[in-house]
Structures are given as C-alpha cells and as structure tokens.
C-alpha cells in the first residue's frame, strides 16, 4: 500500500515537471509568435494594401482590416506601377548593380581578410585596426567628398571609338566600384579565416601550395557561412541605397529601384501603386535571403555578428 502510494506520488511529480516544461515551451513559442508578428505585420500590410484600390486602402488603415485582403481585390495597382515607372528596368539595374557589388566584394574583401588574418607581415594589426576604424564613418559623412572624387575620375567611353573622358557620373560603375571594398566585410572575413587552424596553412605550404592556392583551395571551401553572411550584409545596403544613386545618376535607364519610389510622390500620390512597387522590389531581397538563409543564420549565431 505504502509502495503504491509513493509510486503514485512519484508519477504525480513527473507529471508536474512535464507540465512545467510544456508551459515553458508554450510561453516561449508565444513570445516568438509575438516577435514574428511584429516583424511580419508591415510586410503583410504592404502586400495586402498593394491589392486594394486607394480609397479602400486609406479607409482600412485605421483598423485591423488593413491586414486582411477583402473587398475590391485586384492586381490593378501592379499594372499601374508599370505605367508610371519602368519598374522592370529598375529592378534589372538593381539586380545587376547589387550582384556585381556583392560578387566583386566577396573576391576583394575575402582576399584582404585572408591576408590580414593568415599571412604574417609587419604592420598587420595596425592595418586591420585602421580598416575597422573606418566603420564609424557613415556614407552620409563622406558622400559629398566621394561625389567630388568620382566627378574627377577618368573614364573610358565608347562612342565613335574609345575615348578618355572625365567623370563617372551617370554610369553603372559609379554605383558599384565605391562599395566593393568594405571594412565590415574585411573584418568578418578576417575573423572567420582566423578561426581556421593555422596547421592547415602550414600543411598546405609544405604540400607545395602558394598563399593564393591556400586561399583558393583551403580557406574558401571552408568559409561558406562567412561568404553567405557577407553576401547578405553587402547586398542589402546596395539594394536599399537611395542617397548615392540620387547624387550620381540622372539618366533614367540606369537608375536603381529605390529612386523609382520617388516617382510615385510626383503629381497625385497613389498609395496602392507604391505598395505594389515596394512588394515587387522586396521579392528579390527575400529570394536572396532564402538562398543564403541557413548559412547566414549559422554564421550569425556562431559569431554574434548582427545584420
């Protein structure tokens, strides 16, 4: 009888602790759901609003109906977008500019990071510190001096023949080259390469590899997460860039997506079309993130670096 009682008590105890764990888990999920909703609502609002005519959209903003696709739902706003701006051209421009900046940046910055973390030379630490120090300067602070520099740079233009001209304004490369070398990327690469055991370099040196071969054949294959992180971190600011293109690009056919937003505020403002345009230009970013998501999260979780 006694034994049965104590067995019963033990079972109850186990059940209670199970309940506690379940409660804890539930509250954790609840918290995460709230956070997820917090970040998702603006996107839902954007997508839903892009499907509504302007008068309904403005009426709904004061209530939760703003997040519900109902009433006069259509893709008319998307048609309107293409009437108002050359959206396809802008998106293609932005894809070209961002991917070239990211691609070149991955090559240049990973090489710099590799040299700064793996190859021994005098002044290595000072150089890395100087590079990191440049992180405190925002683009806004250097935009005007940078503009003055690029207006003076020589360029080769293809007209009737090859011609050397002055100034980079109104080109694709003025939107790309100033952002290829990136202090944050160099720092992230240097950190990541620094965590690869030094013996691998030594083994490769003895195996007959040059430093470039060590970079190519040993460091790069081991650094997928670092490349994914840097790709996302450099893609976003270029895609979202507004100030710099505004300063250097007047010609319409080479404008990036963000300059397109301004078109909707000229003459009569069409909110539905703005939302449709924003939805369209968000899709490539989401696709980019989905592509690199796993490696990115792995890397951010392990390095403590925030995007």
């Amino acid at each position: 009888m006694k034994a049965a009682k104590s067995r019963h008590r033990a079972t109850t105890r186990i059940a209670t602790s199970h309940n506690k764990a379940a409660m804890l888990l539930a509250s954790r999920y609840l918290l995460l759901c709230i956070f997820a909703a917090f970040f998702l609502f603006p996107i839902v609002f954007m997508v839903v609003s892009s499907l509504k005519p302007d008068d309904q959209l403005l009426r709904d903003t004061s209530s939760l109906r703003a997040f519900i696709p109902y009433g006069d739902i259509s893709l008319d706003n998307y048609k309107g977008v293409f009437d108002r701006v050359p959206a396809g051209r802008f998106i293609l421009n932005s894809i070209a500019i961002s991917s070239l900046t990211v691609g070149l940046g991955l090559i240049v910055n990973s090489m710099a990071g590799f040299a700064l973390s793996r190859v021994r030379f005098r002044g290595q630490k000072v150089l890395l510190s100087l590079i990191i120090a440049t992180l405190i300067l925002p683009l806004e602070a250097i935009a005007i001096p940078l503009l003055m520099v690029v207006t003076e740079l020589p360029a080769i233009s293809v007209g009737d023949g090859l011609e050397i001209t002055r100034g980079w304004l109104n080109t694709y490369h003025v939107q790309i080259l100033p952002f290829v070398a990136n202090a944050l990327s160099i720092f992230l690469f240097a950190q990541y390469f620094g965590s690869i055991p030094k013996e691998l370099d030594e083994a490769a040196l003895i195996d007959g590899a040059s430093w470039f071969q060590i970079y190519r054949k040993v460091a790069i294959p081991l650094s997928g997460p670092a490349f994914a992180t840097v790709a996302i971190l450099t893609f976003l600011p270029i895609w979202n860039g507004y100030l710099w293109p505004l300063l250097v690009v007047q010609q319409e056919d080479i404008r990036p997506v963000m300059l397109g937003v301004a078109y909707f505020f000229q003459l009569n403002v069409a909110w539905g079309e703005i939302m449709a345009y924003l939805t369209l230009i968000t899709i490539p970013v989401l696709l980019m993130f989905l592509a690199f998501q796993r490696a990115f999260i792995e890397s951010v979780a392990s390095s403590g670096v925030k995007g």
């Binding site: 691998l200 030594e202 083994a203 003895i206 054949k217 081991l222």
Partner: protein, 382 residues
C-alpha cells in the same frame, strides 16, 4: 634521400625568448632520429625549422648538401605529419593524399596510382571516398602519413603524431610508423615528449632541455651512459632515483646508508677517484633495486619502510623512503611518480612480500650505480 644537419643554430623569437641554443646535430641519411624532451624544450621549434615554418636566427641548416635557411618549405622536399594531422576537412581521403601531387601538376593517372599505392600500404583503400570527419583517430593519423609518403620526399618530419591517440592505438601505430620508415628508408625526424616512443622508435635519440641539446645517442647508450642528471632521469620509467651522496674511500654514503664500492665501479669510472671526500649525486635505477629477501648474495643493502606497493603482475613497484636528500633532475613535466611520503622507487620481482608500512631490506646492484658531479651535474666517467 638526404642527410640533415644543424650547424650552430640559434632561434630567438621577437620577444627575446631563445628557443634553441647553439644546436649542432647531424642526422644521417635513412636515419630515424627522435627529438625528445619536456614541453618548451625546443624540439618542435627545431623540427619546424627543418620544415621551413620557423625562421632561423643564426647558424646553418643543411638538407642534403644545400643550405636551406632561406628556402621555401615547398622547395625543401620534405613532408610533415602534424600533431592534429591538419587534414583538409573539405576534401576526401583521396583528395587529401593527392593534394600535393595535384599542386605540382603530376598527371592525373599517376596521381591516382600513387594515391592508391599509399592507401594500400596504409590500409586506407576502403576509406578513399570518405571525409576526415567520418574517420577514426587512427585512420586520420594514417591519412596524414599517406599525405607524407605519397610525395616520396627526401625526409619525413613528424611532430608528436601519436599524441592524440589512445594508448592501445599508440602502441600499434608506433610499430607501424617504425616499420614504414624501415621499408621506405627515408630520413625521419620525429618529435615526441614520450620517452617510451623515443626509445622504441629511434635509431638515435636527441634529448633537449630548455633549448640545449643534452645528449644524442642510441637508446641503449642513453639508458646505460647518460651524460648528465637530466638525461639520466628523463630516460627510463619510473625515473632514476637521485640522491646527494659522498664518496668516502671505497664506499659511498647516501644519507645514513653506506654502500661499499667494488673495484669494478672505479674501473668503469676512473674519474670517481678524484671525488674522494667530496659530495656527488648518486643515481640508481628502480630496476637495479630488488627485495633483499630474493637476493641471497646481495652486495649491498639499505633498510627502509615500504610506503606504497603497486602490483603490475609481471613486477611490483615499491615506493619507500631513504633517509637521504633527493635531487631534482630539473624536468618540468616530471609527473609525481613517487607517492607523497616516499623519495625512492624500486621495481621488484612479483615474488617479493613487500607490504605497506612493513620494514624492508633492499638490495642495490652496486655496479649499476650512476655518479654525477654535484656542480656540473655531468656524469663522472674519466
């Protein structure tokens, strides 16, 4: 194939620390030389200098007949096995072994053949498509060996290659490496802190301490004729017992114990006669002590009380305390082999009835005693 020679080599790090002092050492072609010593003795630094991974501050390093001080690692024609193997994690076993051949643009078909041959020798044929993280410690070790042998280098350098393996595997790999070196006849420099590895594998063993070469000789000579107190204590397990003593005519006093020294001792060590009346360091190996009850015609005995008995089956290790001042050999890594209250260890026959806290008479094999100068700590011979 190549000889390797150190000529008065020094290594001083930028922070002023001198890792190697005036090292001169010749390693013969096809020789298996072991560099052994406690941590921080400079053995790995010396090896890395041969590899070209450490700069040489002064002196000349030759491989074959060329001075290689300023030669890039890849041009030295050496292969190295690292302590943690340094296998490329993203490559398969086949790619790891063939990496150096691919870099030197060896034709693909030849790479395949040579990798397959290395894999066959090392019994890795089944593992060629696996990645290092799918292998056991012993297999990884073999891949590291494969990477070295596939290049057919003029010398192998091995930096504590067995220290990450468990005891059983270590014994097995020890024999395999020794056999491989014997078959391939490649000059090999092997670094270890384990004196058992050093003694069992090396044709010769170089003992280093604090960046100074202490002695280089065959394992047996190191054991029989150590040049100084450090080598005497470092080689052999358990370590040699070392006490302060005093020569008194044809006897030596170790604390309160007087041991008569027969002529044979003075014949072997004529220099000992100059120490009459002087203090010396007396060394006696644990295997030169025995339970006096088992040695009816013992030349000399000392009395003590047993402190600890460790029965190993084939022998028993008996710890006891001699009323004499022990001498520190200066090995920073020396494990406390001796129990807290004891200052001497003997390896006795298992028939010994030695029991804890019981008095015991211990027979000393007098002819095998070692004597060292108190000041220089060098062995007293001539």
């Amino acid at each position: 194939m190549a000889e390797i020679s150190f000529e008065e080599i020094n290594k001083v790090y930028p922070n002023g620390f001198q890792a190697i002092h005036n090292l001169s050492l010749d390693i013969a072609d096809k020789e298996f030389l072991v560099l052994v010593g406690p941590s921080g003795c400079g053995k790995s630094t010396a090896l890395r200098m041969i590899a070209g991974l450490e700069e040489i501050t002064s002196g000349k390093l030759r491989i074959g007949d060329r001075v290689v001080n300023d030669v890039e690692p890849k041009q030295r024609d050496i292969a190295m096995v690292f302590q943690n193997y340094a296998l490329y994690p993203h490559m398969t076993v086949e790619q790891n072994i063939g990496f150096s051949l691919r870099l030197s643009k060896v034709p693909k078909a030849e790479i395949k053949d040579r990798v397959a041959e290395a894999a066959r020798i090392l019994e890795l044929t089944e593992q060629l498509d696996k990645r290092p993280n799918q292998l056991s410690g012993g297999q990884r070790q073999r891949v590291a060996m494969g990477r070295a042998i596939v290049r057919e280098p003029s010398a192998f350098l091995m930096d504590e290659p067995l220290s990450n393996l468990d005891a059983k595997l270590r014994v097995q790999m020890r024999a395999e490496i020794a056999r491989l070196q014997h078959d391939l006849e490649v000059t090999t420099v092997y670094v270890t802190h384990d004196q058992v590895e050093a003694m069992t594998m090396g044709d010769r063993v170089a003992v280093l301490k604090d960046g100074y070469l202490q002695q280089v000789d065959t394992p047996q000579n190191l054991y029989d004729r150590p040049e100084n107190v450090f080598v005497a204590a470092f080689i052999g397990s358990p370590s040699m017992n070392l006490f302060e003593g005093r020569i008194d005519g044809s006897a030596v006093w170790i604390g309160d114990h007087q041991i008569g020294l027969p002529h044979v001792v003075f014949d072997r060590r004529p220099g000992l006669q100059d120490y009459d009346g002087l203090s010396v360091i007396v060394g006696v190996r644990p295997e030169d002590l025995e339970d006096a009850a088992l040695v009816p015609d013992a030349e000399a005995t000392v009395s003590s009380t047993v402190n600890l008995v460790e029965a190993l089956g084939s022998e028993i290790i008996v710890h006891f305390n001699l009323s004499a001042a022990p001498v520190d050999a200066g090995d920073p890594d020396a494990v406390e082999e001796i129990s807290a209250d004891a200052n001497a260890v003997g390896r006795f026959d298992p028939r010994s009835r030695a029991a804890v806290d019981q008095p015991i008479d211990i027979a000393v094999e007098v002819a095998s005693l070692h004597f060292f100068d108190m000041e220089t700590r060098l062995s007293i011979w001539d």
